[in-house]
Amino acid sequence: MTGSDDNLWQGDVEKLKGLVSERALTGETMVLNMGPQHPSTHGVLRLLLELDGETVVTCVPDIGYLHTGIEKNMESKRYEQSIVMTDRMDYLSPMGNNLVYCLAMEKLIDLDVPPRAQVIRVLLSELTRINSHLVWLGTHALDIGAMSVFLYCFRERERLLDIFEMVSGQRMMSTYFRPGGVWRDVPAEFEPAVRDFINYFPPRVDDYEKLLTNNPLWLDRTQGIGFISADDAIRYGCSGPTLRGSGVNWDIRKALPYSGYENFDFDVPLGQHGDVYDRYLIRIEEMRQSLRIVEQALDKLPDGPVRSNNRKYVPPPRSELGQSMEAVIHHFKLWTEGFRPPVGEVYQRIESPRGELGCYLVSDGEPKPWRVHFRTPSFIHLSVLPLMSKDHLIADLVGIIGSVDIVLGDCDR
């Protein structure tokens, strides 16, 4: 479909001005549409590609195919009611989304979180990170052509989903973290299940590495592909493994600790070359480091309540309802009107599996937020795709998309 031949190009060529080069308008290069229904675009991402033969000249990401209006919808719901919607943004890291929203809410109303709940939150967030990286590794390897890794990753992920189901009652849409703590305490069988996973998982990561890390085919497809320099990565606002792949030591868990991450001992892996291969190595190492955190969290899991005792914001336990009139009043008030946070705005960020996930909350003193905005890593990382894919072959583009680990639900809110 060349720009010069109106019979072939169905769209309006004028609209492409500014997006593609002049060469496309004269028909020298070809404009090709990739997605939104494409197995390697990890969701409904559409890429408008300008190709010179098989080489990518320009790549323009087009989003909006999964727009759910979650942010706008949150404005019409009370603070607590919206937690259920955060699960559905980044569907590979539902606990991370719960966490950032709850932390923002707790910052706004200055609510305490008991130590046991803090540790449970960290533990489950790290298991979620492993879960997300497993899906990433499986699909990324599948895109590049390694089929068996996909099956292994999903086999391990099944155990994690069983743990999430055991804890929260749902495999994916957990809605488990609530303001002031977690929904309910973990069951007795939780600890043995996690211990079992801690013993089971490290040899599996070694297996993935055996299959991929020194595999000549894998090296050919990933080394030197999708390069981004440290300066560019910072300038474009990259975060997470995409930023650390370029050698920038920035992990929010270390730099701006939240939920007690400062009490855990873990390393932040860094890359050197900023290519697809380095980003792969970092995520593999992150799985090991996450497991270290999980083990420490399980060892130091303190006893005690899992939800704050502040009755202004947190409902009383059911056992109190039959005994205390005050508890009944708190319960009724909280579930009919909700709580009224002070007027103000907060921004809270966490290190999600994909990078910096931020939640911006504006309160006008009413029970419903005036504005909720999420700064999601997938959206930011889409903007570096044109830079990373320039002058690469179209076959490598698939590997590059996989290496920045985008989730379109996270991108379109």
């Binding site: 009611q81 259920v84 919607m85 086999r155 069983d162 749902q170 849409m173 809605t175 929904w183 579930w335």
Partner: protein, 143 residues
């Protein structure tokens, strides 16, 4: 390379003699964990008709239809296809009359009518359903 092959052979040989990792669903049905949040159930005995559950539901899946508050004639309309299974209603209910089953997770249906569930006395449910079908057909309620 040898190490890699050893690992793959070991996996392949083990898989040959092991029973399959998958279950023969629907012939064999695994039990779900106790904490699973699936279909919502309502117990009329304790309900006061306060409507907190309906008010707190983020998905508008619940409606309490009050026929006679004094005689405790309530009908609980639950729309399974709207429900997000967050269990907010179970937390909100002061009288503990809502619960989420842990074994009714096969909720798919070919007919959309099956997604609307009515709980309450049979006669009350019947009259509410009649009224609702009349309203759908454009006739005034109670005709």
């Amino acid at each position: 390379m040898k190490v890699k092959l050893t690992m793959m052979w070991k996996d392949a040989l083990e898989s040959l003699v092991k029973s399959p990792a998958t279950q023969r669903y629907p012939f064999v049905r695994l039990s779900a964990p106790d904490q699973l949040r699936s279909k919502l159930h309502w117990n009329l005995e304790n309900c006061t008709g306060c409507g907190l559950c309906a008010k707190d539901c983020p998905a508008d899946a619940i409606k309490i239809i009050v026929l006679d508050k004094k005689a405790k004639r309530f009908v609980f309309r639950y729309q399974v296809d709207h429900c997000t299974f967050c269990s907010q209603c179970v937390v909100s209910c002061r009288q503990d009359c809502l619960s989420m089953a842990n074994n009714e997770w096969e909720l798919a249906a070919l007919n959309k009518d099956k997604f609307t569930v009515y709980y309450g006395h049979a006669s009350d449910v019947e009259s509410v359903m009649e009224d609702e079908s009349d309203a759908e057909n454009g006739e005034p309620a109670g005709v």
